[in-house]
């Protein structure tokens, strides 16, 4: 397999960044990793994952949809869309890589969301195989192999080198663009590292989390469960879980008057918020119980019902570490599967 020694990875970054925007996880001052646009001198984060998911690359937190000019009784509609430039995201983990295929099922379904597709068409995803999964990881429960992530190209490490494999044409183009820096390498040590990672994955505290009790056919049974009231009792409705979640895709559309025209933008929204479903004549989800239930029912029941059994969770564990009241999808799944 083609490889580069670990201390020369910056050469790859510099080469890629010459022709395209390159994004990679970089540590902030507080030690948390976030995706940043690469500039010379930046160091790839060794953290397991980024604080925020990678969904921003294709579904940003806010984006301009269309502009309007108002003059008297007349309205002018201004299409502000521009063809996106090619870019590369390096170091996406297996969980986040799967989230893109989940988001695709929403945004690329007919009618295609042109804003999302534009970025998707121009983005190359280079994933990074995990070697040190954390105790909050449970991607395996959703059929994800952290040692063999999806993505246009995959990067593996045996501790001393980075190895590259292409999965798609875009991935091949990425590897070709840096091929002068790569050499053929022996994968014996890499195979040992992968075997060891698989052992760790099997021993993770959440490795036995089962999805057997969930799926579209469980809709009525789970919706009517009496456990939702207790599970949601502590929920503050802050929406943190939906914002850090790589698969949450609910959005709002709002207008902003710039003083020189109207900008219509969309921004992330959360089904955990009380006004999410509020209408002129009332609100079908009056309490946090219903809102809380909606979020988990959507990921574990409604989404699989519409997508051949695929769940709307990738087990990244962000909601486990970020919820201010320590509620999360794992607790919900465990509570609901107890009869």
């Amino acid at each position: 397999m083609l490889k580069i020694s670990k201390d020369r990875i910056t050469e790859i970054f510099n080469t890629v960044a010459e022709s395209k925007s390159l994004y990679l996880p970089v540590n902030r001052e507080d030690g948390q990793a976030e995706f940043k646009k690469y500039e010379n001198g930046m160091v790839l984060s060794e953290n397991l994952n980024t604080l925020r998911s990678a969904k921003d690359f294709f579904f940003p937190q806010t984006e301009n949809l269309v502009d309007f000019k108002m003059e008297g009784k007349n309205i002018e509609v201004i299409d502000v869309r521009e063809e996106c430039e090619d870019f590369v995201i390096f170091g996406v983990r297996a969980c986040d890589a799967r989230s893109f295929t989940i988001l695709d099922k929403v945004f690329l379904a007919d009618p295609v969301d042109s804003y999302y597709k534009n970025r998707r068409d121009h983005g190359t995803i280079v994933t990074m195989a995990c070697t040190r999964p954390s105790e909050t990881c449970f991607c395996g429960s959703f059929g994800i192999d952290a040692t063999e992530p999806e993505g246009d190209a995959v990067c593996y490490t045996d501790g001393s080198s980075y190895f590259f494999k292409a999965n798609t044409e875009k991935g091949e183009a990425f590897i070709n663009s840096v091929s002068s820096l790569l050499e053929d390498g022996d994968t014996a040590e890499l195979e040992k590292v992968q075997a060891k990672t698989k052992e760790i994955l099997a021993k993770l505290p959440l490795s036995n989390l089962s999805t057997d009790s969930f799926g579209g056919e469980k809709l009525n049974e789970l919706f009517k469960s009496e456990k939702w009231a207790e599970l949601s009792e502590a929920c503050l409705g802050c929406g943190t879980c939906t914002f850090v979640c790589p698969t949450c895709q609910c959005y709002d559309i709002k207008d902003f008057n710039t003083g020189n025209g109207i900008k219509r933008f969309r921004c992330w929204d959360s089904c955990m918020y009380s006004d999410f479903t509020k209408m002129a004549h009332g609100n079908p989800r009056l309490s946090q119980v219903e809102r809380f239930r909606q979020r988990f029912m959507h990921k574990l029941v409604y989404f699989p019902a519409n997508n051949n059994g695929e769940f709307g969770c990738v087990g990244c564990g962000r909601c486990l570490s970020r919820c201010p009241v320590s509620m999360n999808i794992v607790k919900v799944m465990k509570a609901l599967e107890e009869k």
Partner: protein, 275 residues
């Protein structure tokens, strides 16, 4: 780049009719004077005044009307207040059509039809009623039961009196909640009136109105012997995108904006009770 459904067209309001104290019907065409797009009865469109808001409204005119679209809109919020305050000639933005429609070319064909509407609930049904009137040979007898709070709150009253009542094979039963001067018709709530009228269970039923009216009407129809598979209704939930992506109108595995707004009553029964 291809067109995106989130980028709206321009519509021009060419006529405004004050239907009731809080309902106005707006006629909309493209700036070139054409229909902005074609639709089927029961489908909806997103109307907006940029800077004020955007919301989903049912298209009350029939697709057989080749000149314009109409929207009957009740004044009940920020955007609708603005729409009610505008004058003829005002441009709005419009996108759609969204959602499914009443099965006028399949299940409803050749059937005797019973329309039951309450208040502004007549708006989506008017599209079907006029579609049926314009394709009269394709359908059996038509009965329309329509009620509202008072005589003044009957939407499309003039059209009902001038046109529907004069059609052969169409029976119209109007009712208002409380007796008032100048009204010698029926007085009472729609669900009760339907039970009194005891329509034939051979009819296919289309019900639209406030949730509470729909609830009691459906119970009454069941008592009369109607099956759930004979009854169609529409749902409404908050919507933003109109194409099943923004997540807002999700109930169970359905999105009301694309899988609805029209549901047969037995399909409704399969959804979680959250509407």
């Amino acid at each position: 780049m291809n067109n995106d459904t989130l980028i709206p067209y321009i519509g021009v309001v060419t006529d405004i009719r004050q239907d009731t104290p809080d309902v106005k019907t707006f006629r909309v065409v493209s700036p070139e004077g054409q229909k902005v797009f074609e639709h089927m009865p029961g489908q909806c469109a997103m109307l907006s005044i940029p800077g004020v808001g955007e919301a989903m409204f049912s298209i009350t005119s029939s697709p057989t009307n080749k000149e314009f679209m109409e929207f009957s809109i009740k004044k009940c919020g920020c955007l609708t207040n603005w729409l009610h305050a505008m004058d003829v000639g005002q441009q709005i933005t419009i996108r759609g059509p969204y959602g499914n429609y009443f099965p006028v070319e399949t299940e409803l064909k050749g059937k005797d039809l019973l329309f039951i509407a309450g208040g502004i609930g007549l708006a989506p049904l008017r599209s079907v009623i006029n579609y049926v009137r314009d394709n009269r040979a394709n359908y059996g007898n038509v009965q329309i039961v329509y009620g509202s709070r008072s005589k003044d709150d009957l939407v499309d009253y003039q059209e009902i009196i001038d046109e529907w009542l004069k059609d052969d094979g169409i029976e119209v039963n109007l009712t208002i909640d409380n007796a008032q001067e100048g009204w010698d018709g029926h007085v009472g709530f729609v669900p009760t009136y339907v039970k009194e009228l005891a329509p034939s269970t051979s009819k296919t039923v289309l019900v639209c109105g406030p949730p509470i009216m729909i609830k009691f009407t459906l119970e009454g129809l069941k008592e009369l012997g109607f099956k759930e598979t004979q009854v169609y209704t529409t749902m409404e939930l908050r919507m933003k995108c109109g194409v099943g992506k923004c997540g807002r109108c999700n109930i169970g595995n359905k999105y009301v904006c694309k899988d609805g707004p029209v549901f047969r009553y037995d399909e409704l029964g399969e959804l979680p009770d959250e509407y």
